[in-house]
């Protein structure tokens, strides 16, 4: 619903054909899933655990600055791996086909203050089903920001660059609050809803465990390195939060990404659903290490088309998906991380102010202007 609809040139038949071509890409990957993929995720999980163990071990001596630096760097990477390539993707059911109860969407718990169960609901279900539909997909600005011209401006938005920065630093808490729909649920009437209270309790329990581990137990175990270890864990959490926030901002906020009106998804066909995912997401280009550290969310477009395909396959899928974008003359929004982050932030700043000019210049209105 941005000024010019970039999909206007497609006929209904073309959109369905596009859907069938995407289904074929999906089927091919599913048919080819196997031992190599299983070995991949097991290797990543084992590497993450070893890295975390070693880093925490090094931090026992973090009173020595080099140990602090190495341990903090290692722990930051381990936490990023846990949340991105491992947690996010397992919780999407990407590895459920292995039938390994230890690597399964129904059993996995991650190093994050939002319990897996709640996150799966708000992310997998609400965000992935209603991607970029205003009023339905709360990921659009997380309910605290205005990220599209079509969202109504409110003086509250003047502060949104600041909110966004704070949200980046404490991103996991932001997500937990968001999964709880705190804004909506803190109203007097809803606050006492037993279902909400149970969920709030679960979050409280998770936060307690996480905080106890990071800021009490491990520092205590470090003895004389108590304070440096505390600082190290805080830093690692900060790094992980800012990193994941940046990556996730790049997924749907950069310039060129479309948002949709609530009524536009009524009776949506499979082809139209796919098309919305294509137009509502953006990628990050970069090296393999870059893709790995983003949990392959650098392939956000592919991930949104096929959220349950194993993440290690997105790179090969991307080649075919991109060819479809070209075939159907659609814009594949992608770019290096700094460019995408900058683009997303610029939007945050721009939209903290009310729209400058009327967003749609219909011919009628132009005539009126001329007439006036």
């Amino acid at each position: 619903m941005t000024a010019i609809d970039p999909t206007a040139h497609l006929t209904a038949e073309q959109i369905e054909e596009l859907g069938r071509e995407l289904d074929a890409i999906r089927d091919e990957v599913i048919a080819g899933r196997g031992e190599k993929d299983a070995a991949y995720i097991r290797k990543v999980i084992s590497a993450q655990r070893k890295l975390e163990l070693v880093s925490r071990g090094v931090l026992l001596f973090s009173i020595f600055p080099p140990a602090w630096l190495i341990g903090t760097a290692g722990l930051s990477v381990a936490k990023i791996m846990d949340n991105m390539e491992i947690g996010h993707n397992i919780l999407h059911g990407q590895w459920d086909w292995m039938r390994d109860p230890k690597i399964h969407s129904t059993t996995w718990e991650w190093d994050h203050v939002s319990p897996s169960e709640q996150w799966k609901h708000s992310h997998n279900e609400l965000h992935h089903t209603y991607t970029n539909v205003i009023g339905k997909d709360n990921d659009l600005g997380y309910g605290i920001m205005r990220v599209d011209e079509d969202q109504r401006w409110h003086p509250f938005h003047l502060g949104q660059p600041l909110w966004n920065f704070i949200n980046a630093c404490f991103f996991e808490y932001g997500i937990a609050a968001y999964d709880l729909e705190l804004g909506k649920n803190l109203h007097k009437r809803r606050r006492n809803n037993p279902e909400f209270r149970a969920r709030a309790k679960a979050v409280g329990r998770k936060i307690r465990k996480q905080v106890l581990k990071d800021y009490v137990i491990h520092p205590l175990l470090s003895g004389p390195s108590f304070l440096p270890t505390l600082a190290a864990t805080f830093t690692a959490n900060l790094v992980r939060n800012i990193w994941s926030h940046s990556v996730i901002m790049c997924g749907h906020f950069p310039e060129g990404v479309q948002v949709f009106e609530r009524r536009s998804i009524k009776g949506e066909t499979r082809g139209q659903w796919y098309l919305r995912q294509m137009m509502g997401s953006a990628n990050i280009s970069g090296s393999r290490a870059m893709h790995f550290m983003t949990g392959n969310l650098s392939h956000q477009i592919e991930h949104h088309l096929f959220p349950d395909l194993p993440s290690n396959r997105y790179a090969e899928v991307a080649v075919k998906v991109r060819a479809l974008f070209e075939k159907y003359e659609l814009e594949y929004v992608t770019g290096p991380l700094p460019k995408q982050v900058f683009s997303a932030w610029r939007k945050v700043f721009r939209l903290s102010l009310p729209n400058r000019k009327p967003k749609v210049k219909t011919p009628d209105r132009e005539q009126e202007l001329v007439a006036a």
């Binding site: 289904d23 089927d27 599913i30 899933r33 196997g34 031992e35 190599k36 993929d37 299983a38 070995a39 084992s46 655990r49 070893k50 163990l53 999407h92 059911g93 459920d96 086909w97 292995m98 039938r99 390994d100 109860p101 230890k102 399964h104 969407s105 129904t106 718990e109 991650w110 190093d111 799966k120 609901h121 997998n124 279900e125 992935h128 089903t129 998770k206 465990k209 996480q210 106890l212 581990k213 137990i217 491990h218 175990l221 659903w273 959220p307 349950d308």
Partner: protein, 351 residues
């Protein structure tokens, strides 16, 4: 404080250190077979027996409780990255010195696990184990006269018994297509040479299927013997009928390898076992809708296969993935997405 209480305290503390994972998640990295771990085993060797059968030597984890001759074990093997569970009889004796156990597997046509174990499994591979189980075992007091009636891989539990205890009077009738298909043939013939066993081989390719009526001539005193029979359903059905007819049914002990064969078709009767409701479903309606229609409380989310909010155990039968057409059969631990699965024959959903 008792030492058990102390240990549980210490464990609680460890859990605080490793949260949200468990201490075992880290210990598994270095010592997957340790005591207290989920029971696993490591394949140490795969020894060919016949063209299509092999003995797999397994070192079980420390939690292994040991077996009784004739029992089977369920093992979970990753085939093409997918964990599949099957049951196999244990063929090693109970007193094996090195603590290993063996199973002997015959590759059946299209058998995913059996072919994998016979032809592709490599030493060093970890597998999942259950504790051994089954009541196809000899009684505490040695029976005076025994008949073993076996066919094909039905020999395996009996081999476990033969290797375990020596009996005074044991007779075996074993069926296999050809002499070279007889698993453990050399060992059986050694037992015969040592006069520890009397053996009749029925080669079904040349002799035809065993006619149970022929038992009178092969083992004249069969009705006086405690009998252990293991083989395909046809043989066991015939034996059960024969023993019943002669009023000696209580002397016959049978072991069936495959209790139920899943028939995959289009639609079928769906049981929601937690709710106790059964309804007819066609092969095109998602089980989520079928359940809701029947008033069963079904978890759901996106209803289009992307959120994994509807994942539910499939306890029996088979379902078809409406997107790919892929059939999933019930096995312990198999979970399905009800919003994109339809009944492929009768099935049981745990809701």
């Amino acid at each position: 404080m008792t030492s058990a209480a102390l240990r549980s305290r210490a464990w609680k503390l460890l859990e605080m250190v490793t949260t949200p994972l468990l201490p075992s998640d880290y210990l598994d990295l270095v010592s997957p077979l340790r005591a207290g771990a989920d029971l696993r085993g490591r394949i140490e060797a795969v020894l060919p027996e016949t063209d299509d059968a092999a003995t797999v030597v397994i070192r079980p984890g420390r939690g292994w409780r040991g077996h009784t001759a004739g029992q089977y074990v369920r093992i979970g093997v990753d085939v093409d990255g997918v964990r599949l569970w099957r049951a196999y009889s244990i063929t090693s004796p109970t007193h094996r010195q090195d603590g290993r156990v063996t199973i002997t597997v015959k590759a059946i046509p299209d058998g995913k696990v059996s072919n994998h174990l016979v032809r592709r499994a490599r030493p060093g591979t970890l597998i999942q184990l259950d504790q051994p189980t089954g009541d196809f075992v000899l009684p505490q007091a040695k029976p005076a006269k025994v008949l073993y009636l076996t066919a094909g891989s039905g020999i395996t539990p009996v081999m476990g018994m033969l290797r375990d205890i020596e009996l005074d009077d044991a007779v075996m009738v074993h069926c296999a297509p050809q002499p070279y298909d007889v698993i453990f043939r050399n060992e059986l013939h050694d037992l015969v040479a040592d006069k520890k066993l009397r053996l009749t081989e029925v080669h079904t390719d040349t002799d035809g299927m065993l006619d149970i009526g022929r038992l009178d001539e092969l083992v004249p005193d069969w009705a006086e013997r405690e009998t252990w029979a293991c083989g395909p359903a046809g043989l066991l059905d015939a034996a059960e009928e024969h023993w019943t007819e002669h009023g000696v049914r209580e002397r016959l002990h049978t072991e069936r390898f495959r209790p139920g064969i899943v028939v995959a078709g289009e639609g079928g009767e769906v049981t929601f076992s937690a709710t106790g409701r059964t309804v007819d479903a066609d092969g095109a309606t998602p089980l989520l809708d079928v359940g809701e229609e029947a008033g069963v409380l079904m978890p759901s989310g996106c209803r289009m296969g992307i959120c994994f909010g509807c994942v539910t155990p499939l306890k029996a039968g088979a379902v078809r993935d409406l997107r790919t057409g892929e059939i999933t059969e019930a096995e312990p631990g198999v979970l399905i997405q009800t919003c994109v699965s339809a009944a492929a024959g009768p099935c049981d959903i745990e809701r």
